[in-house]
């Protein structure tokens, strides 16, 4: 099974989206609110009809503006988990799950509902009503209901946004296991990058309804195609540089940045003197330890003063103000124990290295 999507329209929400989602793949659509993620999902489900485009599920055409094909949602065999779950409040848990199975005999329906409840760990709550369930339990019912019809595609619209933080973490773990065993395309809409990286094996970044970049999470997170994508994936170390020269024999392109010369992987597609954007993940910035200098210390050394130290969940985010250009902020992420061992304090002097192979260069975008 393969889901192919191509959508174009100017109003009411601008869309210019292309993506392919294969069986067994969890494909995350990420982007800020209003970027058209949910609209794409609704187009796949048949709840929104775009102006132009195609939605094909394997060889079935669900939507094709050229041939005037627009199959209603009832016949598309999608499983949809809505943002606020949209459970039927007047029906019990079992009845909610059995409603999509109305074409089957009652005994079969019951058996399937029991089976699904077991898969989402909801045994014992069969006769409860949605209002009597916690947020996490409601979400599980929504997933079970979406899977009841044996859908050809599973669509998840911000499925974890309506539950509290602790439950979210638990549900995400469950979702990882559940989606791995499904052999259908799964489209996940989320504005949370961590969630996307955790659950998805493919990510598409969206902005104003346009799909900007697709790829495996690690690739997209490390190598955004341009500054817009870099900003959307919250790349904190995003700077401008100028090409100085190329040294193919050393696999190196040298660039000028903030008054110093840095080395980046050999990138002949940039011409000498060209201005470009570049980025590096905060976790790829190496600390020069005072006591025991580590390898790599000669790689793109930069010095500055610690501006701020903020610790979140075992990781410390450090903002370094460069010695030569205090206006430029360099971000570095370190494990908390490293910060403690090196006794790093605000306003202290610090030396770091920008690991050469983690420097990622991007062409300047054409101004529209």
């Amino acid at each position: 099974m393969e889901l192919t999507i191509f959508l174009q329209q100017k109003t009411p929400i601008p869309l210019n989206a292309r993506l392919v989602c294969k069986s067994g793949e969890v494909h995350a659509l990420v982007g800020p609110s209003g970027s058209g993620k949910s609209s794409i999902l609704r187009c796949v489900a048949g709840l929104h009809t775009p102006r132009f485009g195609k939605v094909h599920c394997s060889n079935k055409k669900w939507f094709d503006s050229e041939h005037n094909i627009n199959i209603p949602p009832q016949q598309r065999r999608v499983g949809m988990v809505f943002q606020h779950f949209a459970l039927f409040p007047h029906l019990s848990v079992t009845e909610n799950i059995m409603l999509p199975l109305r074409h089957l005999p009652l005994a079969t329906r019951r058996a399937r509902a029991d089976d699904l409840l077991e898969r989402v760990n909801l045994k014992g709550l069969e006769s409860r009503f949605p209002a009597e369930l916690s947020g996490g339990q409601q979400q599980r019912v929504a997933i079970a209901r979406a899977l009841a019809r044996e859908p050809a595609v599973l669509l998840l619209d911000e499925p974890f946004s309506a539950v509290d933080h602790v439950t979210r973490r638990k549900l995400r773990m469950e979702a990882v296991q559940l989606t791995r065993n499904l052999n259908i395309p799964v489209l996940l809409v989320t504005h949370d990058l961590d969630e996307a990286c955790m659950l998805a094996n493919h990510i598409t970044v969206l902005h104003n309804g346009t799909t900007l970049q697709s790829g495996i999470p690690e690739e997209v997170m490390k190598q955004p195609t341009n500054a817009t994508v870099a900003r959307l994936i919250d790349m904190r170390n995003l700077f401008e540089g100028t090409v100085v020269d190329h040294e193919p024999e050393n696999n190196c392109t040298r660039l000028e940045w903030a008054g110093s010369i840095l080395e980046a992987p050999y990138s002949p597609e940039f011409s000498i003197g060209e201005k470009f954007d570049w980025c590096i993940l905060p976790s790829e910035v190496l600390l020069h330890r005072r006591v025991k200098p580590s390898r790599g210390i000669k790689e793109n050394p930069v010095s500055g003063r610690i501006g701020e130290l903020v610790s979140i969940g075992g990781t410390t985010n450090i903002i370094i103000k460069l010695a030569d250009r205090p206006g430029i902020k360099l971000y570095m992420d370190l494990p908390q124990h490293v910060v403690r061992r090196n006794a790093l304090m605000p306003s202290e002097e610090i030396g770091v290295s920008l690991l050469k192979n983690s420097m990622h260069l991007m062409h300047k975008q054409k101004k529209h």
């Binding site: 209603p72 949602p73 009832q74 809505f82 409603l99 999509p100 109305r102 209002a131 979406a146 019809r149």
Partner: protein
């Protein structure tokens, strides 16, 4: 006690309610969920009988049902008798007069159903009729029931419009409230008293039943 008048009132209320149930469901769903040009105007027209004095409404209906209009003339050509001072005219007038009482509660009930619930039903493979039967109707039931009961009770107690359009013909247009008025005018207080009491008890019992029924169903949803 004028049982003929009482039966006529029941009969009139029953038919008005049945027709307004169907008309009300169609209109209320359309106003709640669809967008079409002139929607506000339609809402205003539907709500108008609520604030218009019954005599004013009755006067216009009397004019509209008369022989000089297309409606009145066509009706007479087809059936052989006039629309005014007939049961059919009374029924039509009742439907128009009670329209807001049927539609308003149903409209509020349908508006309260989130669109995502209907979408969830469609994505579960339910067609429009099944979505209505399994999702919309059960959720809107208290509102629909309120609309039905209000329509019935309102028609039972209708007076001004009936007097204007139907007059006071026994067995044809003399409803129970007209009969009460008629008996009071003739200083037959005992008959008036009996009929008023019957109407009071009847109204009380129906309204109580609605509350009991709605309560029994509301605990599930909330």
């Amino acid at each position: 006690m004028d049982w003929t008048a009482f039966k006529l009132s029941l009969w009139l209320s029953l038919w008005t309610t049945i027709i307004l149930l169907i008309v009300g469901l169609v209109f209320a769903r359309a106003i709640a969920w669809r967008n079409f040009p002139g929607k506000s105007l339609l809402e205003a027209v539907v709500a108008l009988p609520l604030i218009l004095p019954p005599t004013v409404l009755g006067y216009y209906l009397l004019t509209l049902f008369g022989r000089d209009t297309l409606l009145g003339q066509t009706f007479e050509d087809v059936t052989g008798h006039t629309l005014v001072f007939s049961f059919a005219g009374l029924l039509l007038a009742s439907i128009i007069y009670s329209l807001p009482f049927a539609i308003q509660p149903m409209l509020r009930a349908f508006e309260a159903i989130p669109i995502s619930l209907r979408e969830a039903a469609w994505c579960s493979g339910l067609g429009h009729w099944k979505t209505f039967r399994h999702v919309e109707f059960p959720l809107a039931r208290p509102g629909i029931l309120t609309g039905v009961i209000l329509t019935f009770a309102h028609t039972m107690g209708e007076f001004g419009v009936i007097l204007m359009v139907g007059g006071n013909i026994p067995g044809e247009t003399r409803t129970i409230s007209i009969a009460i008025f008629d008996r009071t005018q003739a200083f037959d207080m005992q008959s008036a008293n009996t009929m008023a009491l019957v109407l009071l008890v009847f109204a009380f019992v129906t309204v109580s039943l609605v509350y009991i029924f709605n309560r029994r169903h509301s605990h599930i949803v909330m």
